[in-house]
Symmetry: C2
């Protein structure tokens, strides 16, 4: 499924900015920040257009946003394998890459009574396999 198909499938117009964002995210294992996305093709689209496109794609659940400890935001495509479960994110503190982990996180056990949990977000920080080899 490529960018154009994804957009058509969600009844979204097939515009340059959206196509570009989706392709970039599809081509990358890791989640990307706005700057990382733009790095691939700089200054072709306005910053505002970028934000609006990201918002639209997020609303349609084509992508999801990940907020890191330092408040920076990254985006990742919603791949089939990950769509169902709440999945964890791994933030490598050395190379700053963010990876979606397919591993389903264990349900929070021992939660105090009275809380109803709608969603669980897990952010792991540490060292990724690539950085570890050095």
């Amino acid at each position: 499924m490529d960018a154009e198909q994804i957009l058509k499938h969600h009844n979204l117009k097939n515009t340059g900015c959206r196509k570009f964002i989706i392709s970039e995210l599809l081509n990358n294992e890791s989640a990307l920040s706005e700057h990382e996305i733009k790095q691939a093709l700089p200054d072709l689209f306005d910053r505002v257009t970028f934000y609006r496109s990201l918002k639209t794609l997020e609303e349609k659940s084509i992508i999801h946003r990940i907020i890191l400890h330092d408040s920076t935001v990254k985006y990742a495509i919603n791949r089939e394998a990950l769509l169902q479960d709440d999945h964890a994110h791994f933030h490598c503190l050395k190379c700053d890459s963010v990876t979606c982990l397919e591993t389903a996180m264990p349900a929070p056990s021992g939660l105090p009574a009275g809380f109803t949990v709608d969603s669980v977000d897990v952010l792991l920080e540490g060292t990724c396999p690539e950085c570890k080899q050095k």
Copy 2:
């Protein structure tokens, strides 16, 4: 342990803004945003002083910051019971309150090989006991 004692214990000067932030957080079960802290005593301190005080308190591990899904930031005091373990946070989507949960989160099992985890952050979203009763 009150605000002044805490400051002294960390070799920090006993200034108005710091004392005020610590007392507010001590008096509240839940984590507070900058605005929520200020609501109790508005405009007595400059916004910049607030930020600097928060940063200092965070560096000394007197408080910790919690980043919510919408990128808003809340602060909570580091209570003894919670200090050791990585603890989870619960964000009520109805009343917007954020609570530190003492429940230790289960270690992420089934993590793909090669990742070294330094810290785990868990943010639960849903309905808190107070909101549930209605």
